[in-house]
């Protein structure tokens, strides 16, 4: 596609040079922002999960430490059973996370318990160690089908086993801690046992899952190889979540922190939106500024274009007003100088044309008048001679009359140019009027050794015309043809009926007229001859057009020229009238 306007080109150049790089940079920035935000959010959430894991580890280990402290109290020698009972009860009151604390002797008999009734806990068979000296049972569901676990510590006295201290941990107390782990408005923490059992869920909507003994072993963060401690996935409710996981190695538990991605990336999304809006505004501003400044920049070019166009239309008075000191200003000044110079040149040309025209008119007048006047003079002198016989005298008189006729026609032509004579319209037969002229011109053709012939269409070819005016047209055309035809050539005049028109064609076998001059030959004072005013064709054209006809020319240099006069044909009634 061709770009026709400089403004469009300018805008495209501007877009390619400035806007496209800006847009590319913007996209790159957005992508970087997205990636950076995601990394930042993931890192932040991972930190939260890690801290939460550490807090929960401390909570559990802290409970183990409480049990150790209790064990230390109970191992004091000399404590009575009621004292041990009181200590257990005081601990249970003080530390609500223990649903029960019970002390057993080496034979697994109950010694004391925090409960007012019989204990629920038993000495576990084998327990994996949690912290120094304290073992922790795997997570199990209790009689209320809620997850629970048991701590146990082996008591010693004098380095000999002396019994067991067993405590049942209320994991519901841990729920409070998990409830407080929040990210944003909808980010919550989950605590999952090694076998996938859900121990706590911070989401108020998901509390029931704990009571329902939900197993999360198929959770994306647990099912995966954990190569990545975070993932984006769709949860059971169909919401896209960003999940991060942190392990509590000592417990084997996993802390998962889930946050809806819409919320996690909300600030980035907001920032992106703001950036996009800002970029769009900047772009619009840039385009606006570019339009204003560009338009102002291109305005001199447009002014020059308009000026040039006006000059080409001949409005040489056109000048451009470019008020700047730069190259455009200089160009504008040059343009105006050029226009001034053009005006001068045009005046010169006109003056030269007038002089040339005057010369040509004078030369034409001399040529057209000289020959008849000389003939008249010569024959007048002959008539004055006594020795001239009657035949000679008669011939000189005819020549004088003929040349006087020529002079009269010439004067009529000149007069017709200056003041066109009104055309009279009468029905006439073209064949008749053409034949008259052809016959009268045949002698002139013979003198130039040019055969003048007429070929006429059948029947009368009636037109509304002026016999004398049309006769002048035919004579001009035939005279020109004879003069343009070398000796031995021919001039043929034909008439024809073409539709509602009658055509008269004068064809010669002369030198022809160059194509670049064809258009001007009907103008006044234009001639292809070396001499003469060139009024004949101009007068002929004016006459034909006054009769609502046309005159045209076809010519080929070296082969000849053909002039065609086309006149509107009248009907038969008028033709009959003409014949009568």
């Amino acid at each position: 596609m061709r770009i026709r306007h400089i403004a469009t080109r300018f805008a495209i150049v501007l877009a390619i040079a400035a806007v496209l790089p800006l847009i590319a940079y913007g996209f790159w920035s957005l992508l970087t922002l997205q990636r950076g935000t995601r990394d930042s959010v993931v890192t932040g959430n991972l930190n939260v999960a890690t801290r939460a894991a550490e807090e929960i580890r401390r909570y559990i280990v802290g409970d183990a430490e409480i049990l150790k402290a209790l064990a230390a109290d109970l191992q004091n020698t000399g404590l009575q059973q009621w004292q041990q009972d009181r200590i257990l009860k005081n601990y249970a009151l003080q530390f609500r996370e223990f649903r029960e604390l019970s002390l057993f002797d080496e034979s697994k008999q109950l010694v004391a318990t925090s409960r007012a009734t019989s204990p629920r806990v038993m000495i576990p068979a084998t327990l994996p160690p949690l912290v120094d000296g304290v073992a922790m049972s795997p997570i199990r569901v209790d009689e209320d089908l809620l997850p629970t676990t048991t701590f146990a510590i082996r008591l010693t006295r004098l380095n000999q086993p002396s019994g067991w201290l067993v405590g049942e941990l209320s994991l519901e107390q841990m729920w409070r801690m998990v409830d407080q782990i929040r990210i944003g408005g909808h980010g919550y923490a989950l605590v999952v046992a090694p076998d996938g059992a859900l121990l706590a869920h911070g989401n108020p909507d998901k509390k029931a899952l704990v009571a329902q003994s939900k197993n999360l072993s198929t959770h994306p963060l647990l099912a995966a190889s954990m190569a990545l401690p975070w993932q984006e996935y769709r949860d059971e409710d169909g919401r896209q979540q960003l999940g991060v996981a942190a392990k509590i190695d000592t417990l084997g538990w996993t802390i998962i922190v889930e946050q809806p991605t819409a919320e996690a990336y909300a600030s980035a999304t907001r920032l992106q939106r703001q950036l996009l809006v800002a970029a769009a505004l900047a772009l619009l501003l840039m385009i606006g500024a570019g339009f204003v400044f560009g338009h102002r920049f291109i305005a001199p070019i447009f002014a020059l274009k308009r000026g040039t166009q006006a000059l080409s239309e001949g409005k040489l008075e056109t000048r451009v007003a470019i008020d700047s000191a730069d190259e455009f200003g200089q160009l504008g000044a040059s343009f105006n100088s050029m226009a001034d110079r053009l005006v001068e040149l045009q005046e010169n040309v006109k003056r030269q044309e007038r002089q040339a025209m005057f010369g040509r008119v004078v030369a034409g007048l001399f040529h057209d008048l000289n020959h008849p006047i000389q003939n008249i003079g010569n024959n007048a002198r002959l008539l004055l001679r006594e020795d001239l016989d009657d035949e000679g005298r008669s011939m000189s008189q005819r020549i004088i009359e003929r040349e006087l006729g020529t002079l009269k026609r010439f004067m009529d032509d000149v007069l017709n140019i200056a003041k066109p004579r009104p055309i009279e319209r009468f029905a006439l037969d073209v064949n008749t009027s053409v034949n008259e002229v052809v016959e009268s011109m045949r002698a002139e053709g013979e003198r130039a050794n040019v055969a003048v012939a007429g070929r006429y269409a059948e029947g009368p070819l009636t037109v509304d015309g002026d016999r004398f005016a049309l006769g002048r047209v035919y004579r001009n055309l035939i005279t020109n043809a004879i003069q343009a035809t070398p000796a031995g050539g021919s001039v043929t005049v034909t008439t024809s009926r073409v539709g509602n028109a009658v055509e008269v064609t004068v064809t010669d076998t002369g030198t022809g007229i160059p194509a670049d001059r064809l258009m001007a030959i009907f103008d006044d004072f234009v001639t292809t001859k070396r001499r003469g005013l060139g009024l004949g064709l101009a007068t002929s054209k004016r006459i034909v057009e006054q009769l609502d006809g046309t005159i045209s020319v076809q010519s080929e240099v070296g082969r000849g020229t053909s002039f065609t006069v086309r006149l509107p044909r009248t009907d038969g009634r008028r033709a009959a009238a003409a014949a009568s």
Binding site: R86, L93, S114, E143, D144, R176, A211, Q212
Partner: protein, 429 residues
Amino acid sequence: VADLITQEGLINLGSNGRPISWLAKSWSVADDGLTWRFVLKDGVTFHNGTPLTAAIVRDVLATQLPANLGSAASDIDSIESPSPSELVIKINHRSTFLPEALSVLIHPDNSGVGTGPFYVSTTGGSNLELRANDKYLEGKPQIDRIVIQPYTSVRTAWAELLRANVDMIYEVGLDAVELVSSATETKVFNFQRPYAYAVLLNTQRPTLKKAAIRQALNQAINRPQFVSEALGGHGRPADGPVWPDHWTNDGHFRQFSYAPSDLSAQHLSLTCLYSDPAYERMALFVQQQLRAAGIDVRLELTTVDEGLARVSKGDFDAWLADVGIGPGFLRQNLFWHSGGPFNWGRYSNPRVDEALDAIRHASDESQYRSAVAAFQSAMVDDPPAIFLAWSERARAVSARFDVYQEPGRDILNTLRLWRPANVERVAHN
């Protein structure tokens, strides 16, 4: 629970101790205070279709009021029904206890057939099924059927609520209120009950005969700490026997203070019964605080029936229970007046008796307020029990229901107005 939902009384007591309308549309008292005239609501029928009449109410009251009023029943002269909608009670002494006693539930012949928004449809096994009363005067309840199912512990109950196996639990354990509250699928509603957690003392025990000892026991209890640690913050310290929201209680009554003294020299040892496993933490706290004062307390868990049997026989030292002594003074009279039917500790104090009698026969509010102040003062000087805290109960309901709650009141009172949470949406759709 079923009684609360299926039956209604003549009038009820508001949380400030003032009577409010129930089955009685209006009432008036003669200038001498000896004739009470009640007008029943129109169009009330029992679940079996029998219209509620003044004669039926008269017969029920004639049977129930003596037990409800205790010694104050002697104030009643006659109960008459001059018309089907008009009931007249004539008394021989002014009695402020009468309106309190009229909250007795009206169900003829102890049949359980009441006028409430629900009726018992089937009883079998451990479950009880209630159905909506289509003819309930104030409109048919939105809920068609209620199944009441017992659980062995409140922990089991709230776990079942979280699992969506039940829609409401009667009581959320104090330890679990926060946990259950934090779940969006459940809603927890707390309300103050006119019940006090108290350790009733058997004043017939030699060790507990002295008022000073019983006063010292009260002073050994740090009540705010009790509320905080034993009740998890869900309750109000019971600084005296008078219901804190009663209209007479302007906060200037004498109160129990926390001023523990060393009673170890007394070599006191007592066994404290409690009949609800959920009270264990409270019992342990009381035990800890009294032990700190040098009193050896042994805790003993009994069943409710066993506990009541032993207490009514006087076979106890102390009994940890929540006693319904508010919001008025009729029940205070039943518990603490000499010879009162619930005065299981055989407590007797002339000042207390005199103050309760003065409350009972007060002719105007000034006399009433003075008598209440005297009662509280006498009780602080010679307490029949260790007053711990006014209890707060938390009920939990599945979020599937829209619960209409009146501020400070039990949501069971508005059960007929509950509806499935999506009813309105469905209706609009």
